[in-house]
Symmetry: C2
Subunit: 114 residues, 2 copies
DNA sequence: CAGAATCCGCTACGATACTG
DNA sequence: CAGTATCGTAGCGGATTCTG
């Protein structure tokens, strides 16, 4: 054998992950759901700076990717709730650990990012 | 107490991580380095579809974030090598585990993404 | 309160060509 | 082989407005 052109058996996995978590607020939205913040209005309060449009778009993408499910109670005034699916839950440990990693290296990183 | 407006102590960490790994090929570049693929030409071969321009841009960002270091041997023909810093190495387990996660749920995810 | 529709600026990325 | 410069494009996300 010569050389492996694509030595990255994980490459496909990387790309899938990248697509799934691609989006400015996806991590935080998933973490909100994990924290029990299930309603859009609550997310808007919990995440200063996010807009309703982006909440909807990114939640819908997460639903499309099978990480989130939606419950519409069809009441008036409207009430809906979003929940993590099992697949979504399986991603939470990564998110928390990555967030912790970011916190721990905040000093080093911020210097460079700012 | 009323309600915590920002219940996400990890929010800042999320944001830092998002900025650091933001980029289509960052995961794969970091994984390349971890695999010992240190030279740009080798990365180009290992990652079909990537361009030299993007390799340089994203590696420089990683350097700026302190995850990667560069060694220029100042020879002719030119030869340079990139390496993971300790900070960069500390991110590798996440990347591998996320790639594995993506691989494991490929079936579920691909249906939705395609 | 949930959410869809519209407009728009910014950036990332790809393609290409060029310098040492 | 390494790296830069330029151009064109698609998409993300912010602001705003409107509906049920």
């Amino acid at each position: 054998m010569y050389e492996r052109k694509i030595p990255l058996t994980l490459g496909c996995g990387f790309e899938l992950v990248r697509q799934v978590v691609n989006g400015k607020w996806k991590f935080m939205l998933l973490y909100c759901l994990h924290e029990g913040i299930t309603r859009p209005s609550a997310m808007e309060r919990a995440l200063p700076g996010i807009s309703r449009r982006v909440i909807n778009i990114q939640l819908n993408q997460l639903i499309g990717h099978g990480l989130v499910s939606k419950q519409d109670y069809e009441e008036k005034p409207p009430r809906v709730e979003y929940f993590l699916t099992d697949l979504g839950k399986s991603l939470i440990p990564f998110i928390i650990d990555l967030g912790t990693w970011g916190e721990e290296h905040k000093g080093t990183l911020q210097l460079n990012i700012v």
